[in-house]
Structures are given as C-alpha cells and as structure tokens.
C-alpha cells in the first residue's frame, strides 16, 4: 500500500498533531517533518527535502473529512480499483 509507513506515522501521532489541527503536516517515514498553512507550501517543502522519495502531505483533522462525488465513479489508483 502506498505511503503505508507515513500514514501509520500520522495515525500514531494524531493526538499530539491535533494542536496543529487545520494545518498541513509533512510526514516522511516515521518523521513528522513540519507544518504548513497551505497544501502547496507543504508539497513544495516535501519535494525540496525528499526529492522523489515518498512523502505524505495531510491536513490534520480529528475526524477524516469525507469528500463527495455525485457522479458514479470507481475509486482506484495506479495499482487497482476499490
């Protein structure tokens, strides 16, 4: 699964990350790297620091927001569909 380690790091650290709720966190491996006000700034920092290595950018939220698509689409990534 893509970004499995980074997503586990996010989940494990979520209780302490919540003091930055609403910010975008940059995660690399087991490291919480930094916090940003915008998605674009976080992505930029990720590529500057880690080049093409995997990294995660995620908005910190106590509960995961759900995004809605009214058109019927099949959610899937490059490895397959769900």
């Amino acid at each position: 699964m893509a970004l499995e380690q980074e997503l586990n790091t996010y989940k494990t650290n979520l209780p302490t990350l919540l003091k930055h709720e609403g910010k975008f966190v940059l995660v690399h491996g087991e490291d919480i790297v930094d916090f940003f006000s915008t998605y674009e700034d976080a992505i930029k920092a990720g590529y500057q620091q880690f080049k093409l290595d995997p990294f995660l950018v995620k908005r910190i939220a106590v509960t995961e927001p759900v995004f809605f698509i009214s058109r019927s689409v099949v959610i899937g990534d490059l490895a397959g569909v769900k």
């Binding site: 998605y39 590529y47 500057q48 995004f67 009214s70 019927s72 099949v74």
Partner: protein, 148 residues
C-alpha cells in the same frame, strides 16, 4: 477577470484541458536529471457535484506520479460508505476551444484517482478548483462561461 465562453455539449460543460506535474515536482525532477513528463491533454467535465477534482489513473500513470496523500471519498459506486482514495499533486490547465484563446492554469491541487475513461472523460473539475473561478451555466442559450 479573464474568461472564456464555450458551447454546452450533450454531456454538459466539457472543456479541453491538460494535466501537468506540479511545479514543485517539476523542480525535483529537473534537479535529479529526470525528464519532465509531457503534459497530458485530456477532456474534462466541470462538475459542481464533486467536492474534489478527480483524474483517471491512466493519466496519472502517464505522468509517472506517486501518491502524496489520501482522502475519504463517498460516491454512488461506494454503496453508502466512504473509501480511501490515493491523491496526487498536479496542476490543471483549462483551454478555450481555439489555440491562443485564454486559458486557466491552476495552482497545485490535490486530486483523487478514479476511473473515468469509460465515461468518455478523463477528469472531473470539482469545486476545489472552481473555488477560485466564476462559472455561469446558461442552459437556456446552450453555453457556459468560466472566469478565473
């Protein structure tokens, strides 16, 4: 505001568009000596029913992208529950019909991956991108206007 006006199609407000690697990824590729993938020309539907923009995985694969996030998405095919979707950082270009016409290039946006090519389109331009635009849907006269 710059704007363009296009004729409505039977499938709704369809635009010719392009998906590009984000500016930050472009810089990382350049500094690593890796060629920049060519922007992918696509057909996209402007969809106010999508709270996040989505792109077909074939387009993302052509750009050789890796996921940089995930989102929970609810859509009719997920049968009442939300599912995790990998997300990718890209930029959208939206072109008017004629070469040289005005066009819109988004900032870096987080798009989800979803199969769309079987519907004759490659992307849904959702409210995340439309948040910086003015969309006028003139169904009575059969055109729509996008200002940005």
């Amino acid at each position: 505001m710059p704007h363009f006006m296009l004729q409505m199609t039977p499938n709704g407000p369809i635009v010719q568009a392009a998906i590009l690697v984000s500016a930050a990824r472009r810089e990382a590729l350049e500094s690593s000596g890796i060629p920049i993938p060519t922007a992918q020309r696509i057909v996209a539907l402007i969809d106010t029913g999508a709270s996040v923009s989505v792109v077909d995985p074939s387009v993302l694969a052509a750009l050789d992208l890796n996921p940089t996030g995930d989102l929970d998405i609810h859509t009719p095919s997920t049968e009442g529950i939300s599912v995790k979707a990998s997300t990718y950082d890209v930029q959208f270009g939206i072109y008017a019909i004629r070469p040289g016409d005005p066009h819109f290039v988004s900032e870096t946006v987080q798009v989800a991956s979803a199969v769309l090519a079987n519907q004759g389109i490659h992307a849904l331009i959702g409210r995340d991108i439309l948040a910086s635009c003015v969309l006028i849907y003139n169904g009575a006269d059969g055109y729509f206007t996008l200002a940005y």
